[in-house]
Homo-oligomer: 322 residues x 2
Amino acid sequence: MAKFFVTGAAGFIGSHFTDRALAKGHQVVGFDNMSTGQKFFLKDALTNKNFKLIEGDIREIEQLQKAMSDLKPDWVIHFAANADVRRGLDRPRRDLDYNTIGTWNVVESARGVDCKNVLFSSTGSVYGEPKVFPTPENGPFPEQTSLYGASKLAGEGILSAYAHGYGMNNVVFRFVSILGPRYTHGHVFDFMKKLKADKTKLPVLGNGKQLKSYLHMNDLMKGLWLVIESKPQGFQVYNIGHDDALTVDISIGYITRELGLTPKLEYSGGERGWIGDSPRIQLDTTKLKKLGWSADKSLEQGVVDTVHYISENSFLLSEANL
Amino acid sequence: MAKFFVTGAAGFIGSHFTDRALAKGHQVVGFDNMSTGQKFFLKDALTNKNFKLIEGDIREIEQLQKAMSDLKPDWVIHFAANADVRRGLDRPRRDLDYNTIGTWNVVESARGVDCKNVLFSSTGSVYGEPKVFPTPENGPFPEQTSLYGASKLAGEGILSAYAHGYGMNNVVFRFVSILGPRYTHGHVFDFMKKLKADKTKLPVLGNGKQLKSYLHMNDLMKGLWLVIESKPQGFQVYNIGHDDALTVDISIGYITRELGLTPKLEYSGGERGWIGDSPRIQLDTTKLKKLGWSADKSLEQGVVDTVHYISENSFLLSEANL
């Protein structure tokens, strides 16, 4: 049994990670400011004696230090973030505060309690608009096209420098967009929200041709745990995403089919959905596959599972903070 | 005539930049917290009616905003930084505060006054320990080995994301170590300080074989102004450094020859001078050369000029804050 400190534990990914950790018999302290986290994602965890939820904010290092010094974790798993990629330009300080300074606070707090292992959820957005597909971890020096990507890359650099400087074993995962139960953020959610308001038409950002890889939550969890249980040494970076990719149009096809709707599609046009959007995301996961990882669920299944989850929990579409 | 806002204007590089800008007939507002800056570097500038020095700290965005809103600059030239690469691990928050958050404050303030052009002094340290020499701007995705490099890379990402997101024309220069008059920071300074204390022996960090490129201040200034006057568009990154490189041992040879000393060299050993030191730095400057740039001064001349400057201003070796 190991002790895990999980930031963003009440979120989409953090709550799944927490459930898996508890199922494996580990002790978990979750840390979440509940700004987008949902307590009901943790309804099982909260009945487990090995779990404790602390309400706190990664922007406040004292809160992290206090929470970690009580637990003395073996691993700090850092999911908490400003994940609103699209609206970075409206609130340019948010990405810096949450994703860069917040990550420094988390890593520095881990060091403070002599925790040697930190895992960080970064993003394929750090590649900007790559020229190589699928994009490997050590591809060409990237150019940042979004404040989100820039802030996550800054977080990666902190994990790396701390690994080299203080002998930590820090792991960065560069995620594609994740699909599956508890999904409350991203294009499937946005489309379903729009269709709930008006099922006859669907405004689409961009030209519908953006081609992106996704991954089902089950396959993400499999990858994270594979790496954690491999006892990684030094600084490690892993891409994680499905080999396959979907255009926005194909995603819309799956979503509307599942909902039995035939809305008129209204494209805003352009190959990017918004400034900083990457028209194509496909990551090379050779490094992770060498550890034995592969994706089980197709992207179609990922979209379908997501649509069904949101349909069954449609109150989420009305939550003010999502 | 254009209006320049120069952070770190009282420093080694900033004061030279200020002098050149004034010589070209531009208006300059210098912004410096005087923590390592020297007012006497600006003794000529301070007699020029086109120059004004504001004492302020880049960690305080309100100070930047106020100073910039008075000037409405055409260019913001951002040199202010924590440049103490070596001691990052003793004070891990400093690099974040000055080089990442400070850079965000500068770029955001520029945006606030609708200044479209920001130039940022980054570093070859962002390449960590590269595998390709000379290292091009778009070489393999780097791994950060120092908090300094990580914090500067984070600053670069901010300039890039702002260029893409807000239509700014931002330029990043990745510097090697700079040599020449007003040099108050780096290996020549450290060695001369040690030799002043005891001329019979010289402690050397590492094995003396670290191989690094440098650049004379005159050649740095030539490169910066060439790019500024080329009216760069969008986001641009330029390496700048001499094609040649010196081992620490060769540098020591030049220094001791100029000083007429023959100290016993005492190596601490290892191929790195300190944790996070890069054993080899040589940058590919093809991109800058395409604009017509080349270095005029040899590295030997750079070291010699530096030794003579420090000898003629030896009180600098006793300055408490250097």
